[in-house]
C-alpha cells in the first residue's frame, strides 16, 4: 500500500511538473507569435516599452558607475594597440589630405543642393541640421546579441524624440548618420544602427551623379549600396550620403545629405545591369557613449518622420 501511494504521488508530481512546463512553453510560443504578428503599437510592444522605461534609470546608473572601469579597460587596450594605432593614424592623415581636396568639390556641390532641396537649413548651426533639433542621449544599454545592432539611449518622447527620427554621431568630418529611432518611451528610445540587418537607407553618391540606391547591411558592421546603375561613375572613396528621395509617394525618413560612409569597393559582372558597391560606414557606432537624435521641428521633417 505504501509503495502504491508513493508511486501515485510521484506520478502526480511528475504530471504537475510536465503540465506547468507545457503551459510555459505554450505561453512562450503564444508570446513570440503574438509579438511578431502585432504592430509596433500592440500590447506586447507596449509592455516592452513600459519595462524599458522602468529599468532605464537603473541601467543609466549602472552605465555611469561602470564608466571608470570601461575607461581603464580602454586605456589598457590602447597601450596594447598603440603601435597599430600609430600606423592607422598615419594612414588616416594621408587619407584626410585627400579628403581635404574632396571637400572643396563637395562644398560647391552642397551649395547647389542647398538651393534646391533646402539643405541650407540642414547645416544651419542655429537650428541644428535642417529643420531638426539635436537631442543628445547617453547610451544606457546595448543589444545583448550581435544579431541586433541597436542600443537604448536615455532620451525619449519627453525630449521630443519620435519614432523614425534620424540618429547621428560626430566624426572627424562632422556628423554622420548612424541609425534611426525604432521605438520610443517617455524617457528612452531604441536606436537601430544602419549596420543592423533590418535597416535600409535610401542613399546616393553625389560625386557619381546622384544615382539612387539603397544602403543595406551585408554582414554585421558592413554595408552595401544596391540599385546603382552600371553606367554610374562610382569610384573608390567617394562619399555616400542619404538621398531623401520619395518612393511611391512616401518620403524617405532621412533628410537629404546626411553622410553615411565611403565607397570601399566597386564591382560588377558583365551581365549585371547594376554595380555592386561596398560601403564602409564612417564610424562603428557600437563603441559610442553618446548619440544625437535629430528631432523633427519643421513640417517637412515631421512629415518625413511620420512617413507621409
Amino acid at each position: 500500500m505504501a509503495v502504491a501511494a508513493t508511486t501515485g504521488i510521484a506520478r502526480r508530481r511528475a504530471n504537475v511538473r510536465r503540465a506547468v512546463i507545457a503551459v510555459l512553453v505554450v505561453a512562450c510560443l503564444a508570446i513570440f507569435t503574438g509579438y511578431f504578428r502585432e504592430s509596433t503599437g500592440g500590447p506586447l510592444h507596449g509592455a516592452q516599452s513600459t519595462a524599458a522605461s522602468v529599468v532605464a534609470p537603473v541601467q543609466e546608473v549602472a552605465t555611469k558607475a561602470l564608466q571608470p572601469f570601461r575607461d581603464a579597460w580602454g586605456w589598457a587596450n590602447s597601450l596594447k594597440d598603440a603601435r597599430d594605432r600609430a600606423a592607422a593614424l598615419e594612414a588616416e592623415v594621408a587619407d584626410l589630405r585627400g579628403l581635404a581636396a574632396d571637400n572643396a568639390v563637395r562644398d560647391q556641390r552642397l551649395a547647389e543642393f542647398e538651393s534646391l532641396f533646402g539643405v541650407e537649413a540642414l547645416v544651419d548651426p542655429k537650428t541644428g541640421i535642417g529643420g531638426y533639433t539635436p537631442v543628445t542621449g547617453l547610451v544606457v544599454t546595448r543589444s545583448i546579441t550581435d544579431w541586433y545592432r541597436n542600443v537604448r539611449i536615455s532620451v525619449g518622447s519627453s525630449k521630443g524624440v519620435v519614432r523614425n527620427a534620424p540618429v547621428v554621431a560626430g566624426t572627424g568630418r562632422g556628423a554622420a548618420l548612424v541609425g534611426v529611432v525604432t521605438a520610443v518611451s517617455s524617457d528612452t528610445a531604441d536606436v537601430a544602427f544602419i549596420t543592423d540587418g533590418r535597416t535600409e537607407v535610401g542613399a546616393t553618391i553625389p560625386a557619381a551623379g546622384n544615382p539612387p540606391g539603397l544602403v543595406q547591411s551585408t554582414t554585421p558592421g558592413q554595408l552595401k549600396l544596391t540599385g546603382v546603375p552600371r553606367a554610374a561613375p562610382v569610384k573608390l572613396n567617394q562619399d555616400v550620403v542619404t538621398s531623401g528621395f520619395m518612393v511611391k509617394g512616401l518620403p524617405s525618413i532621412y533628410p537629404r545629405g546626411l553622410p553615411i560612409g565611403r565607397v570601399s569597393s566597386v564591382g560588377s559582372q558583365e551581365v549585371d545591369v547594376q554595380q555592386t558597391v561596398q560601403v564602409t560606414p564612417y564610424l562603428d557606432p557600437r563603441n559610442l557613449a553618446y548619440l544625437t537624435v535629430l528631432t523633427p521641428q519643421s513640417p517637412e521633417a515631421k512629415r518625413r518622420a511620420a512617413g507621409g
Partner: protein, 193 residues
C-alpha cells in the same frame, strides 16, 4: 493522512540540507534571477571580447535548476528570459524565455542525483546551456531570414561568449550554492506527507 496545498520541498536529494532549513529559498531564486537580468542588460554588454558578451543568465538558471529541480528551473528560466527580452533592446519577445525555460527544465533533471563535489560539472553544464541558447537563437534568427557568416558567428560571437561565460560562471555558482543550500526538489503539489 494529511494534505498540504502549499509549495514545499519534497527532497532532499542529499541527506542533510545545510542551509536555509526553514524554506525552499524561492525568494533567493527570484532575487538571483532579477539581479542576473539587471547585470546582463546593464553590465555584461560592456564586458565583451570581439562580439561575444558573457551570458550570466545561463549559469544562474543552471544552478537554480540543479539546486531546486526542473519546475523551479523552468519557471526561473522562463522569467529570466522574458525579463531579459522586456528590458534589453532585442527585437524578440518569448524566444529567450523559451530557450532558458528549456535549459532550466533540462538541468533540473540532475537535481535528484547526488550533488557534484566540485565545480566542474555545473560549470560544464553552464557552458553547454549558453551554447544551446546561442544555437537556439541562431536557429530562430535564420528562421526570421537574418544571416551571419558561419565563421563570424563561431569566431566572433560563439567562442568569445562561451569563454566569457565560463569565466564568470564559478562565482555565480558558488554564490547560488551559498544562498540556496543543498539540492532539494521543490514542486507545487498536494501530497500525503
Amino acid at each position: 493522512m494529511s494534505s498540504d496545498l502549499g509549495t514545499r520541498a519534497v527532497g532532499p536529494a542529499t541527506a542533510i540540507p545545510r542551509a536555509r532549513a526553514g524554506g525552499s529559498g524561492l525568494g533567493w531564486v527570484a532575487a538571483m534571477v532579477l539581479v542576473a537580468v539587471l547585470l546582463e542588460v546593464s553590465v555584461m554588454p560592456y564586458i565583451n571580447v570581439a562580439d561575444g558578451i558573457p551570458d550570466i543568465i545561463a549559469p544562474t538558471i543552471v544552478v537554480v535548476a540543479l539546486l531546486r529541480g526542473s519546475l523551479v528551473g523552468a519557471v526561473a528560466g522562463f522569467s529570466a528570459g522574458l525579463l531579459l527580452e522586456l528590458t534589453a533592446p532585442v527585437g524578440t519577445l518569448g524566444v529567450l524565455a523559451l530557450l532558458y525555460l528549456i535549459v532550466g527544465a533540462w538541468c533540473g533533471r540532475y537535481c535528484e542525483r547526488e550533488e557534484s563535489a566540485g565545480l566542474l560539472a555545473p560549470l560544464a553544464l553552464s557552458v553547454v546551456a549558453a551554447l544551446c541558447v546561442q544555437l537556439g537563437y541562431l536557429a530562430f534568427q535564420l528562421l526570421l531570414g537574418h544571416h551571419m557568416p558561419a565563421s563570424e558567428f563561431v569566431g566572433r560571437v560563439l567562442f568569445p561568449t562561451l569563454a566569457l561565460t565560463a569565466l564568470l560562471s564559478p562565482p555565480v555558482l558558488l554564490i547560488a550554492r551559498r544562498l540556496l543550500g543543498a539540492p532539494r526538489v521543490v514542486e507545487p503539489y498536494s501530497v500525503i506527507s
